[in-house]
């Protein structure tokens, strides 16, 4: 019995119960579709994180506060207030640290910002002029914070594009306008270019003000929330990371790296963490999708078993006419594989379409990896064989005489 004839006969049999066939296929469509959509979603999320981090710069080291222990009580990670401007200056000036080009001390905190009748809650970052170099920030209009602003504790602000949109609406140039940050009036002197990226930390939803103003006038603090270091090249990063680490340990009078009250992360560290997070998320979702695929497979087995029972007489006749076991098995397997294959193709189409719509709505990248499509094909065919095997064997094992007598 050749494969064309098997497929022709299979299609004819499946056509008899259109509703039942469609429902069984639907189970596979949903399973394969969600697997495709979620794998693509996960990959898109990963590449979004990567491009976002790349846009920050790959020569970047970030020192952030860790936790402190006092009397055995730990504060939350990031809760330490021991990172100071003096630390930043020490890193910049130390002879023991090589390969650091620029040091950008930063203090950031959330604050309520008001302009006219609009207000928003956003991240206010106190920076020095070097910030724009280290963090690769460029302006679309106006100018950035200068050292003059720092010494004068000027109340000037550079706005991220999202903030401009929130406070002034789209297409308005706010340079020269006044805004209130936590009730204090600031003059807008510039607007940052969009860095793109959405998601977990929108870099466009920020306001930059002079570090001195932030610390002394707005938030009344002495510590920093981060120090960004620009290394002269990627090769020196690991060494610089160690040197800075020991310098800070010494300055904070700590004797071992395990008791450090700060963390130094390179972009690759952050990249790894972010990838790991999105990877876990993706595999979790894919696991859920795989379960729906399993349920779809059980649906296929169910209708194939029904089909075997309904067609007992036909199977008996076929065996009486000389059909060997493998012919009967091939016939039923062909039918189940047709079901899962059609379901797989439709599932791939719907999965890609669903992901396409999501990427349009959420503004994320639209990439389909050929690997996942290929995998979906293989999996759907394998499910057909796997869940069609038992019913097919059952059909082949029928005794012709019993089957012919079956009413």
């Amino acid at each position: 019995m050749n494969i064309n004839k098997l497929i022709k006969t299979g299609l004819k049999n499946l056509n008899v119960n259109k509703m039942r066939t469609s429902l069984a296929i639907l189970g596979i469509v949903i399973g394969i579709g969600s697997v495709i959509a979620l794998i693509s979603l996960g990959q898109a999320g990963k590449s979004a994180v990567q491009s976002q981090i790349q846009s920050i710069g790959s020569n970047l080291l970030t020192i952030s506060p860790g936790f402190t222990s006092s009397g055995g009580v730990r504060t939350a990670a990031g809760g330490a207030t021991t990172l100071t401007l003096e630390d930043a200056e020490a890193v910049r000036d130390a002879s023991s640290v090589a390969g650091i080009k620029n040091v950008s001390p930063e203090y950031s905190s959330r604050a309520q910002v008001i302009s006219g009748r609009n207000n928003t809650n956003t991240q206010v970052v106190g920076v020095e002029p070097v910030y724009s170099v280290v963090r690769k920030l460029s302006l679309s209009s106006g100018s950035f914070i200068t050292s003059g602003h720092l010494t004068a504790l000027s109340r000037v602000a550079v706005l991220g594009p999202t903030v401009v949109e929130d406070l002034f609406g789209e297409g308005v140039n706010p340079v020269g306008s006044a805004i209130r940050i936590s009730g204090k009036i600031f003059q807008v002197i510039g607007v940052a270019k969009s860095k793109g990226g959405s998601g977990f930390q929108n870099q466009d939803d920020r306001i930059y003000i002079p570090l001195t103003t932030a610390q002394k006038q707005l938030f009344g603090v002495r510590h920093l929330t981060s120090i960004a270091l620009e290394a002269s090249s990627e090769d020196v990063m690991t060494r610089a990371q160690n040197q800075v680490g020991y310098l800070l340990l010494d300055r904070h009078h700590l004797d071992s790296p395990s008791s450090a009250d700060f963390r130094i992360q390179s972009q690759s560290d952050i990249l790894e963490t972010a990838s790991a997070v999105s990877g876990t998320f993706t595999s979790m979702l894919t696991g859920v999708a795989a379960i729906s695929l399993l349920v779809g497979g059980i649906g296929i087995m169910n209708i194939m078993l029904m089909s075997v029972t309904e067609r007992t007489r036909e199977i008996g006749l076929r065996k009486a006419l000389g059909a060997k076991k493998k012919v009967i098995i091939a016939q039923f397997l062909t039918e189940s594989v047709i079901l899962t294959f059609v379901g797989g193709v439709l599932g791939i189409i719907f999965g890609i379409a669903g992901f396409f719509i999501y990427s349009r709505v959420a503004g994320s990248v639209f990439v389909i990896s050929p690997g996942s499509v290929l995998l979906a094909f293989a999996v759907s065919a394998a499910i057909g064989v796997l869940f069609g095997w038992y019913p097919a064997r059952k059909a082949a094992a029928l005794q012709p005489i019993e089957a012919l007598r079956y009413e």
Partner: protein, 227 residues
């Protein structure tokens, strides 16, 4: 020279259910030669259907030997029996047993397909056989577009497709109106004249008249035989 196609000796079939023993056939000895046309008659429960199933290799005897075309069927596997049914036996059932939603032509081709004949040959033979049974104008009709007599003629064409040693017909006219039944019987007589060996089960004396030998079964034994 007379060649035996079927040689059955001391054949018994016993069904055991728990402690009940139901003897359906006992000590049946029978020889059917090439070119015979045998009718097996008997009341229901006489064992004629069981005998037919054993002769058709659909069931195996409890004891005794059955030689089909000189080959002992005892101890053959399911697939080997399927092969023998395919090549040596042409079945004609009371209920026609055609595949539904499948054209007359495709129905006739089924056994040849299982034998692995090339498709062009299958098509050629199937057309010739449907022509022989007078259905050349209905080759593409599915069974539900054919009358009972026409369906049975398709079944006969199917039974002939592998040029079997023997045609086994189980109440071939049982479901058919008498006018069409006569047509079916004339086809069988014609096939027998052409040299085909036919074994037919029937309970109608009229139908049995077409046969050259009539065997009466009662309580699992051959009661008598007449010509």
């Amino acid at each position: 020279m007379i060649t035996p196609i079927i040689k059955v000796s001391r054949l018994s079939k016993v069904y055991r259910t728990d402690d009940l023993e139901n003897v359906v056939l006992s000590d049946v000895t029978l020889t059917i030669n090439k070119g015979d046309f045998v009718a097996i008659m008997g009341p229901s429960g006489s064992g004629k259907s069981t005998l037919m199933q054993i002769l058709g290799c659909l069931d195996l005897p409890t004891s005794g030997t059955y030689l089909l075309d000189g080959q002992d069927v005892a101890g053959l596997s399911d697939d080997q029996l399927a092969d023998i049914r395919n090549r040596k036996i042409g079945f004609v059932f009371q209920a026609y047993n055609l595949l539904p939603r499948t054209s007359a032509l495709d129905n006739v081709m089924v056994p040849m397909d299982y034998a692995g004949l090339p498709e062009s040959l299958q098509l050629e033979k199937a057309k010739k056989l449907l022509d022989l049974v007078g259905l050349s104008d209905r080759m593409h009709h599915p069974p539900n577009k054919l009358s009972g007599g026409q369906q049975q003629r398709v079944a006969i064409a199917r039974a002939l497709s592998m040029e079997p040693s023997i045609i086994l017909a189980d109440e071939p006219t049982g479901n058919i109106a008498s006018a069409q039944a006569e047509e079916i019987m004339s086809i069988f007589r014609q096939l027998n004249r052409q040299g085909h060996t036919i074994v037919m089960i029937t309970h109608e004396a009229d139908i049995a008249k077409s046969a050259r030998r009539v065997i009466h079964l009662r309580d699992g034994k051959i009661e008598h035989e007449h010509k």
